[in-house]
C-alpha cells in the first residue's frame, strides 16, 4: 500500500476524507442497491475478466466500447479489482435503460458484446465469478481447441452427465 500511496502522491493525488472511505467500506458488499435500480427499469450488472498487463488497456477500451454500442446502453465503467505480477482483473459495471419489452434482450446483448470484445482483445472469460449457464455460450471462443479436451475429461469422469449438467458449456 505504501507503493500505491507514494505513486498516487507523485501523480498529484491529494489526501481525502477518511470518513468517506469508512462509509464505503461499511456497505461496499451490500448489493441491495440493485433493487432500487431494478424497480426504476435499469438493466444493471457487472462483468469481470482477467488479462495480462500488456492487454489491459485494449481490453478495457474494447469492452466498454462494445457495451456502449448496444442500443439503450447508458454506461459502461471499469475498475481494477485484483492485481498480480502478471496481470489483473478488470471489473466492469454496466447499465442501460431499455423499454420493458427490450429489458432482457438488452441485458443479454450487453453481456455478449462485453464478453466477445474482451476475448477478442486478450482477456479470459472470467476472473472469479465463474461460467455457470450464462457464460457457457462463450466457452468455445475462450478455449478454442482445448474445449474438446475439457469435453473428453468430463465424459470420462461423468459418463452419464449428472454432475452440473450444462455448466461450463458441457
Amino acid at each position: 500500500m505504501s507503493v500505491v500511496f507514494d505513486t498516487c502522491k507523485e501523480m498529484g493525488a491529494a489526501d481525502g476524507d477518511v470518513a468517506l472511505i469508512e462509509a464505503w467500506m461499511h456497505h461496499r458488499n451490500d448489493t441491495s442497491g440493485l433493487q432500487a435500480l431494478t424497480r426504476k427499469g435499469f438493466v444493471v450488472d457487472t462483468m469481470e475478466v482477467a488479462a495480462n498487463w500488456g492487454h489491459l488497456d485494449s481490453v478495457v477500451e474494447a469492452v466498454e466500447s462494445a457495451m456502449l454500442a448496444v442500443p439503450h446502453a447508458r454506461s459502461a465503467t471499469c475498475h481494477l479489482s485484483h492485481s498480480y505480477i502478471e496481470g489483473a482483473c478488470v471489473y466492469f459495471t454496466f447499465a442501460a435503460t431499455p423499454e420493458e419489452a427490450d429489458f432482457e434482450s438488452t441485458y443479454l446483448a450487453m453481456w455478449k458484446a462485453g464478453q466477445e470484445a474482451g476475448l477478442a482483445s486478450g482477456a479470459n472469460l472470467s476472473h472469479h465469478h465463474g461460467i455457470g449457464y450464462s457464460r457457457s455460450q462463450f466457452m468455445e471462443q475462450a478455449l478454442g481447441t482445448s474445449m474438446g479436451v475439457l469435453r473428453s475429461v468430463k465424459k470420462a469422469l461423468d459418463p452419464n452427465g449428472i454432475l452440473n449438467p450444462g455448466k461450463l458449456g458441457l
Binding site: 469508512e22 461499511h26 440493485l34 433493487q35 431494478t38 441485458y107 452419464n160 449428472i162 454432475l163
Partner: protein, 137 residues
C-alpha cells in the same frame, strides 16, 4: 466505526409482484413433480414442505435478471419441495439412475450452508440417509 467494519445485516430480497404462492417459474423445468410417495418419504426423513409460497421463496436468487422477474411474480425455477435436513448426511438420488447419487450434509464444510435444501425433482430424489463414513466424504 472502524475502517474495517462492514455490515452483516441481511437485507430483504426484492418484493414479489404478486402473491408468492401464485409465483411461476420463468425458466422451463426439465423435471417432474414429486409423487405423493416420494414427498411422504422425504417428510419421514426431515422437515419437508411443499407450501407454494415457501417453494417460490427458495426458487429465487440475486441474479439481476431474476430481480426483474420477481417484480413480475416470477422466479428462475420453483423447486418441488423444500427440505431441511438437520444433522445427518442424506443421499440425493437421480430418479432414472438409482445407483448414482450426490451427497449433502449440514455439517460445516467449505462455507456451504445446507440447512435448507431446495429440491428439483429432475435431479434430486432423497430416499434414505447414509452413514457418513460410507460416502467417502
Amino acid at each position: 466505526m472502524s475502517i474495517h467494519s462492514f455490515s452483516t445485516q441481511a437485507k430483504e430480497p426484492i418484493e414479489f409482484g404478486g402473491d408468492p404462492a401464485l409465483a411461476t417459474s420463468h425458466l422451463p423445468s426439465p423435471g417432474r413433480a414429486l409423487t405423493e410417495v416420494e414427498a411422504r418419504e422425504l417428510g419421514a426423513i426431515c422437515d419437508t414442505t411443499a407450501d407454494a409460497a415457501e417453494r417460490a421463496q427458495h426458487g429465487r436468487d440475486w441474479w439481476p435478471l431474476s430481480l426483474r422477474w420477481s417484480l413480475r411474480n416470477e422466479v428462475p425455477q420453483i423447486p418441488a419441495v423444500v427440505c431441511r435436513p438437520k444433522k445427518r448426511v442424506v443421499a440425493l438420488f437421480v430418479p432414472e439412475q438409482p445407483l448414482q447419487y450426490c451427497v449433502c450434509t449440514t455439517e460445516p464444510k467449505a462455507n456451504v450452508r445446507m440447512e435448507e435444501t431446495a429440491l428439483n425433482a429432475h435431479f434430486s430424489y432423497l430416499t434414505k440417509e447414509l452413514n457418513p463414513s460410507s460416502t467417502g466424504q
